[in-house]
Point group: C2
Chain length 647, copies 2
């Protein structure tokens, strides 16, 4: 356990009481603590290192929770947590992981919201301030004092942040927007606004072209954003201000990181290296740090299949001018490496954190005859829902969407991948594909980005389950070599315009019971069918040996329409149809199959008993995937037991 | 039919050939045509009157479709349509309605996209320009020349427009963004940016605080935005420009409207009046014009129930400082009248067209103890999907969402209300209510905005079906009186925290068949049950007299969870359960009931035969509701016939 001042900080009151020199000491100790925590536990260390002084100054000057801080995305709230009674979670290795990586009101009264998506802090702050002002008007008092949003320059590129800026001035009243400008997003900053920010930095905040003043906001610039005294002084001046103001603070992301010995070698994926110079193409370096213990060099499924997909596309760049990969600011985690981006040149566009623009931009490229490929997380696609409906699907443009991080997982509650099937599958005109192998993913990508006539296509990138299978089968060698060695095959279609991946595939024929696995769940489906045909002798729910069942194993490679022909055929000879999906049941895929059989005009189909397995409708927070699968009945034991009961 | 020059304009080539004086004559004729069309047919007349000269100048200077125009929202594309071979749709009353109110590539090669939602034009234009530039790099040529986005100042407040502006400069290359500044949104403009626009207008474009330059964009100002010669000159200067530029054009929305005799009296809902002065609180005046023939003074369901809801809330404003109605720019069509807004004072906030901000803003107010009520169209809530998941539902804040325009309807394909159930119902923690009467809506609103502990609540405002029923029953008198005369009743709950509207209601007990109607479909459910109990003697599908069935009639007032107790009870004594919903089946409500019975561990429940009725997954364009209901089997005849077949 790190000893020192942090142990004596139990609440913001303890920060208020510190002398000037103690503030400096505290910052130093926090920085050391963050570095050590990063090495041992990992996390968003770079952004937190950049706001050590800012956060200490905020808690020294303001009075939380009466004054409210809203940290945008809240990945940079570690220091805030240390100062609000949660220091042990960063100093005591046994308590690492006992707090989330984001703010959460369940943890502390000093956290107003659970946040993990970008750009909403200003709007949320406007809401808190509005309610405060109405309370004060009505009764002369409110439980809320100053309202302070802290937002990074990278987050400023996101749509809702602009809407917030535009509405803040209109609203009036006390509202302090701290723009933490560290000259970086997750990858490099992208957007014309960054020229203005740069001019403001260079002119000490006096440049004429000021995007904040253009939104009608008051403005102050602080060059020494890592000097706690300067910050304290500035914040004292704006405290209790009677109108909205932007305080533009220039900080250094990852400050102190390069001083720690051994860091330069840390990590092999380019995400843990550091560099004293910002903007040297090293931004992701500071974004997320893996703990030292993670050094097996094995990419996760996102990076692995992302790299395969990029390698497959790259081979076509020279001959296909319209083939463009678009990433809204998170390339690295999806296998879109810096090397790839440099080689891709104009075939790669980072839009900054701007998913909505990215989706409509893709629609524009596709309409002009190009073949855009938009890659981001399942959870971030939520931002594009309207563009998904309107610009992409209603307009039937051949854009390809690569959905990363989809499926049930142990993520925190703001980044769940369990909701995407219900979001994508119910949009008309949109083809949703769920590959069950790396090669099938490449085949789908080739079709989606190829010359045939079709609308937008979403590809749910294979998850860890598939990668585990492929590693076990020794086919998951280097993703680039693997992509280069595979000549994509697009299955033939009956009619032009049909999706070549519409048909489900019978992997093993049987009778009585059919087990249908969608995408990632094919592995589980296969286990279930194996175990059923072996005969289960240890099934406690039955209590006696049970005879083997030669079940039919089926892979469903898509979830936007039903293979009605196959489903009707199954009704002949199968009493039970089981659907497995790696996402929320409600609104998802299995329910459609259940409804198909119920609404069929064929009595045999009506008689089919469908059992659906998938996630229940809930937010989950850092619950390991295995435990969620247990909870949802998505284990071979539980599926078999249900089948036996219904049999 | 209006005679004149328009008859000789068959394509943009005919506009190129016009002399200066002919351009002026053409503008005058178009303006007269629009006014006459507005009186007879209705439409977005104000915005089109404002861009007559701009559109004529665009087609005179540029060469469509080689040069591409993207009209934001595209409600202002009537003039463009007149100049691209579709004039007869505006001059010949027999062909009124033969084109959509928005651009559509199916109509003309001069329309690039189907558009109806705000703010996407810049992103789409970036995409077209990007593909063009890559084609030119590769082969020296492209089918696309200049790319021109035309966006109104009202649309500029929307999130994605900012993202587009921020990305345009970064991209570089030819891109012309025409900001049509008529000093109005749908209602008044809201946002700090509008101060900057005003300063630019007043300074002839020279003001230092320039939001476009702040985004790194080149900029030009045109004060005489309704002078076709000035516009032609300016556009010639920017044609073939090698970098993105904003051309800020000052126009008068509705120019010429006030000159037409009799207009001042037109319409009784405040939406058809006009005023020569913009910004005199008359903005909606110019937004949408009903044809003269619509003068029965009967409000539609949106306006009617919206007015009821507002009246009910207004009575509480004096005592509840945190009760705030939020409207993202479309108050009038949802019964939030100008009078109400003025009386509401700080209890009403118009965020401009900024749905995402509005949703996060509501989350902030709710977190601070307030009770925000966010009102907008089902289709516009699509923009808030991520905030719906994260800021509102994950954070479990007591915000109320009023969903207007939900349900199957004859709208164009960009404003469908058939998709909202699948969007809202599958979000965890969100309570979704579907009132079946005006009074129930008020009760739900009272609970949602009341003191009890709950998360976000969406209320699907009653549709035309309910209003027709209530008018027939003579209870739909003046909405304000009706609201004032109703003391809201919140049903008791078993446990604190339960939703008092969770339970389905048995309206008429029966057996064998249960017909469940969700919200708006209760009227149809009631018809079906009536007809079944009468015995159908004319059922062609059976071909013989059929015996009466005393079916059970059930109203479902919510669609975010199942009343499992009721559903289980129904399994005893009912062989068939019918679900009716006024929206898309896939991902919707009925499928959940089907899945409930299939996955039950009770054999009786498994044996229930569920029949689901609702919309199929498709985009529809101006197909009357009656025809859609026929297509979806949502008529009493068809539902009865299916029940008889399954019986």
């Amino acid at each position: 356990m790190t000893a020192g001042m942090l142990n004596s900080i139990h609440s913001p009151a303890d920060v208020h009481a510190l002398s000037s020199s103690q503030l400096v000491d505290l910052c130093a100790e926090i920085r050391t603590t963050l570095l050590e925590y990063g090495r041992k536990h990992g996390g968003h260390i770079g952004s937190n290192l950049g706001v050590v002084e800012l956060t200490v100054a905020l808690h020294h000057v303001f009075d939380s929770p009466h004054d409210r801080f809203i940290f945008d995305v809240s990945h940079q709230s570690y220091v805030h947590k240390m100062l609000t009674g949660r220091a042990a979670a960063y100093t005591d290795p046994e308590r690492f992981g006992s707090v989330t990586g984001f703010t959460n009101p369940c943890e502390s009264e000093h956290d107003s919201f659970v946040l993990g998506h970008t750009g909403t802090s200003i709007s949320l702050a406007c809401g808190l301030a509005k309610a405060r002002d109405m309370q004060v008007s009505a009764s002369g008092r409110s439980g809320i004092g100053n309202v302070i949003a802290v937002i990074g320059d990278g987050a400023l590129s996101s749509a809702i942040a602009f809407e917030g800026l535009n509405n803040a001035a209109e609203q009036g009243g006390n509202l302090i927007i701290i723009v933490n400008d560290n000259e970086m997003s997750i990858a490099e900053d992208f957007g014309g606004m960054y020229g203005s920010l740069s001019a403001l930095r260079q002119s000490g905040g006096t440049a004429a072209s000021n995007p904040f003043r253009a939104f009608g906001l008051d403005y102050r610039y602080v060059e020494q954003g890592n000097n706690v005294h300067t910050l304290v002084e500035t914040l004292r001046e704006v405290r209790d201000i009677d109108h909205p103001i932007v305080v533009h603070v220039h900080t250094v992301k990852g400050l102190g990181f390069d001083e720690a010995p051994g860091d330069a070698e840390n990590g092999s994926d380019g995400c843990n290296q550091t560099n004293a110079e910002p903007h040297a193409g090293q931004c992701e370096a500071n974004h997320w740090r893996n703990p030292d213990s993670v050094s097996d060099g094995m990419p996760d499924a996102r990076k692995y299949y992302g790299a395969m997909a990029m390698a497959s596309l790259e081979s076509r760049f020279a001959n296909e001018p319209g083939l463009v990969v678009i990433s809204p600011a998170t390339p690295g985690s999806n296998g879109i490496t810096r090397d790839f981006r440099e080689r891709a040149g104009s075939h790669y566009v980072d839009t900054g954190i701007a998913e909505e623009h990215a989706a409509a931009f893709a629609a524009g490229i596709a309409k002009a005859g190009g073949r855009p490929v938009l890659a981001t997380s399942a959870t971030f696609f939520q931002r594009t829902f309207d563009q998904l409906q309107q610009e992409l699907s209603l307009n039937r443009v051949p854009a390809t969407l690569l959905i990363f991080g989809a499926g049930i997982s142990g993520t925190d509650n703001t980044h769940s991948g369990a909701f995407d099937i219900a979001m994508f599958a119910n949009v008309p005109n949109l083809t949703c594909l769920a590959p069950t192998s790396g090669e099938q993913m490449l085949d789908m990508l080739a079709w989606a980005t190829g010359p045939s006539e079709h609308g937008a296509v979403a590809i749910r990138m294979p998850g860890e389950q598939i990668l585990e299978l492929e590693r076990a089968a020794d086919v998951a060698f280097d993703p680039i070599e693997r992509a280069e060695g595979h000549e994509p095959v697009v299955p033939a279609v009956d009619r032009a315009g049909d999706c070549p991946f519409k048909r489900y595939q019978i992997l093993r024929p049987g009778r009585d019971v059919a087990v249908l696995g969608l995408g990632n769940t094919v592995a589980l489906a296969s286990h279930v069918v194996d175990r059923l045909s072996g005969g289960d002798t240890d099934d406690d729910s039955i209590g006696m040996p049970v005879p083997p069942v030669t079940a039919t194993l089926i892979a469903a490679p898509q979830y936007s329409s039903l293979d009605e022909e196959m489903l009707s055929m199954l009704a002949d000879g199968h009493r039970i149809v089981v659907t497995l999906e790696d996402g929320q049941l409600e609104g998802g895929w299995g329910e459609k199959i259940t409804a198909f059989y119920a609404n069929s005009r064929d009595a045999k189909a009506n008689a089919v008993h469908v059992l659906n397995f998938g996630a229940i409708k809930e937010f989950t927070d850092r619950v390991p995937r295995e435990r969620l699968n247990e909870r949802y009945g998505l284990t071979a034991d539980q599926v078999i037991s249900r089948i036996r009961m219904a049999y």
